[in-house]
């Protein structure tokens, strides 16, 4: 037993010794990028560390923190324990983390960073991308991995790109599908539902989807848009075009699902994994009906900062600037399918030559331009519960065959309940 103890002590001391830092400023960067994006992100962090970072005496330690929601959970738990010391300096944040970030005392928002660096401005960033990271009038951070939801389709089977949900019904009617092949699979969640409601000119929750002020209730009841969507969704299911399960890359790649709606950031991965087995088609996000508009908000993630001390926040700022610079943005977009977040990045020859060769990489950018100005992604306090409740109710409506009116009632009760409960505990 004694031996064991002394071994433990020695090991502890040895490990403690190795993690003592050198003189440079070390900052921690939490990210959630995997696959191609993860590899590229790693490369840019390395490039920063040997290039500009080395000159400035800054070293960035990149930590993969699981999915965006895992990472945001970690943020939440540190905040609730009032332990902000263990927060990173820079964090890759998606829409579900916005409220939490803003509630952090050590949040070093972009607004504050711009006061500290008056010679910098954000005019070069694509407006929809930048504004997606504005909450209650505060600019949280800079867009890093900007994407939007697109429609992917199997162009070897389908003659043309599906344009609206009604086209899916048409496909189900007209095409002879092989056994085990379905047209479309989807379970609506917060962002996909909000996009479809947005196309009808409506919002899921008040406060412009919670982006301008805290959402307190659903905002798509009185104009009938949610009910209308539920009805169309049910009709789609009844037509046989829709399978009620989460859209799966694996199924689409295997040729067992003809149409898929997913993030534009998947293009490179899909290309790679389909490997020429069929022709990949990319088109704007499905419209609800030919009478509704096009559009899907920006998704993806931004980089936000936390302030620990002046030296580290300065280092964090340099790193964020590097990661959002035009060349990094263009390169990152080319390797993944994300949209370059800056006008100057879009204008680079690098990017322009690239999209001439691979026009599918430009669909996302074009869609952002089609999306109505002012359409914002959803920000609510109980983000995870919101997301799963929507999925749950939509699935139940189809599988337990309840009416759209009943589903509407359940959504109203559950979602408004979540918002009320959250507001009660966090006034």
């Amino acid at each position: 037993m004694k031996k064991v103890l002394s071994f433990v002590l020695i090991a502890l001391i040895a490990l403690g010794g190795t993690s003592l830092g050198e003189k440079q400023t070390r900052i921690v960067f939490w990210h959630s990028a995997t696959g191609d994006a993860g590899e590229l992100l790693g490369r840019y962090v390395d490039e920063f560390n040997v290039g500009p970072g080395a000159q400035l005496g800054v070293y960035v330690e990149a930590v993969y923190q699981g999915s965006y929601s895992d990472s945001a959970s970690k943020l939440q738990s540190l905040l609730s324990a009032e332990n902000e010391e263990d927060l990173p300096d820079v964090m890759q944040l998606d829409a579900t983390g916005k409220v939490r970030y803003l509630s952090a005392k050590s949040a070093y928002t972009l607004d504050e960073a711009l006061i500290d660096h008056p010679d910098e401005d954000t005019g070069d960033f694509l407006a929809p991308a930048l504004e997606n990271w504005r909450l209650n009038g505060v600019q949280l951070g800079l867009p890093f991995a900007t994407s939007t939801t697109l429609t992917y389709y199997n162009a070897s089977v389908l003659d043309e790109a599906p344009d609206s949900l009604y086209d899916l019904m048409y496909i189900a009617d007209e095409y002879e599908l092989e056994d085990g092949v379905c047209v479309y699979a989807c379970v609506p969640n917060t962002p996909t539902l909000a996009n479809w409601l947005g196309q009808m000119g409506s919002r899921l929750v008040n406060g412009n989807n919670g982006s301008e002020q805290n959402a307190t209730e659903l905002d798509c009841l009185e104009d009938g848009s949610l009910l209308r969507f539920l009805e169309i969704w049910k009709e789609l299911y009844a037509s046989g075009a829709l399978v009620s399960r989460a859209s799966s890359n694996d199924e689409f790649i295997a040729g067992k699902q003809l149409v898929m709606t997913a993030s534009s950031s998947m293009i490179s991965t899909l290309d790679e994994r389909i490997g020429g087995a069929f022709e990949l088609g990319v088109s704007p996000y499905l419209r609800v009906s030919p009478d509704d508009g096009y559009g899907a908000t920006v998704s993806g993630s931004c980089l936000v900062m936390f302030k620990h001390d002046d030296e580290r926040s300065e280092a964090a700022w340099e790193f964020v600037k590097y990661m959002t610079s035009d060349l990094v943005q263009a390169g990152f977009a080319m390797g993944t399918g994300y949209i370059p977040s800056r006008v100057s990045a879009v204008k680079t020859d690098l990017w322009q030559d690239f999209i001439r060769e691979a026009p599918e990489y430009n669909v996302g950018f074009e869609q952002l331009m089609l999306t109505p100005e002012g359409m914002r992604s959803v920000t609510v306090g109980p983000a995870a519960d919101f997301y799963y409740t929507i999925q749950d109710v939509f699935t139940s409506m189809l599988e337990e065959d309840t009416s759209p009116e009943e589903a509407l009632e359940t959504l109203e009760e559950e979602l408004n309940g979540l918002l009320t409960q959250y507001a009660r505990a966090n006034p």
């Binding site: 929601s69 905040l79 799963y388």
Partner: protein, 293 residues
């Protein structure tokens, strides 16, 4: 129950307290204090920083019981528990009966039967996730099916159940094996002389003799099954549409990840209550069974 010490020392002495203190300290800080806080939080309004704002009586419970999510989490947890326990007991016991008599190859298949206990939950979950993947997984290929085992609401919970049963089989097999081998050969021999068949011997002699082990396996598995959360986090994230959400998983997502301590505390308390209920039920059943035989 508690026997007096070997040596009774009558005068007050600080020393014995010092021996007991370290463990007591950890029990108080990491078991009793959190339990007390959970209790308090369950009946109060707590903000995202974990501060108690005010006492609210049963409001939190009323809210919790009205949530759809809770209904599915509770249903799934009960389903996992009530199916897992009997299946695990029967399966491990069958394996133990097969292996009970020592034969040439005994060491080999004893090792095989107990091997699942060597595998950690995270590893097992990853293997399951791969095996049951609809396109690349081996299960669909072997069965010639095209099911999305973890993706469909009809099969997800059942597939998860196969994992939780598999994880428990190894250890429980060993418990039963050592219990079966511990039965005195005389008792069994006497019955055989009386002309009892193999099945009768098992039912009337062996099974009652290992009843305590059965109860131990059943109750420890019931508690483990009630706590199921790891595989859910790794494989399904509670989906599809909450078909695999469990109470502890709900506590993690709605509590830890959403900063809603009151709700998390209520879920915890419900889980406590279930744990007690299952444990007592099993103890009660055992007493009945032992007396009845």
């Amino acid at each position: 129950m508690v026997a007096a010490g070997v040596f009774a020392k009558k005068r007050f002495c600080i020393k014995p307290y010092l021996f007991v203190l370290p463990m007591l300290l950890f029990a108080v800080v990491f078991v009793y204090y959190p339990f007390f806080r959970t209790f308090l939080n369950g009946f109060s309004l707590v903000n995202a920083q974990g501060r108690l704002l005010r006492y609210t009586g049963l409001d939190n419970f009323r809210y919790l019981f009205g949530r759809r999510e809770f209904a599915s989490a509770l249903g799934n947890t009960l389903m996992l528990t009530t199916v897992n326990v009997p299946v695990t007991v029967v399966l491990s016991l069958t394996l133990a009966v097969i292996a009970a008599k020592k034969r040439t190859l005994s060491p080999l298949y004893e090792t095989l039967f107990s091997l699942p206990m060597a595998v950690s939950m995270a590893t097992a979950a990853l293997i399951w996730k791969t095996m049951f993947n609809p396109t690349v997984g081996i299960v669909n290929r072997l069965l010639g099916t095209e099911l999305g085992w973890f993706e469909s609401r009809d099969t997800a919970l059942g597939t998860l159940l196969t994992l939780t049963v598999w994880m428990g089989v190894g250890f429980n097999f060993l418990v039963f094996l050592s219990a079966l081998r511990g039965i005195s050969p005389d008792t069994v021999g006497a019955a055989q002389v009386d002309g009892a068949g193999r099945f009768q011997v098992f039912w009337h002699i062996r099974l009652p003799a290992i009843a305590p082990s059965v109860v131990y396996v059943a109750s420890s598995n019931a508690v483990l099954a009630l706590m199921t959360s790891g595989p859910v986090m790794i494989i399904t994230q509670g989906g599809p549409s909450r078909a695999t959400s469990t109470l502890i998983y709900m506590m993690y997502t709605s509590g830890y990840a959403s900063g809603n301590d009151s709700l998390a505390a209520c879920v915890s308390l419900v889980t406590f209550a279930l744990t007690f209920a299952f444990t007592f039920l099993l103890l009660f059943l055992e007493r009945d069974k032992v007396r009845g035989l």
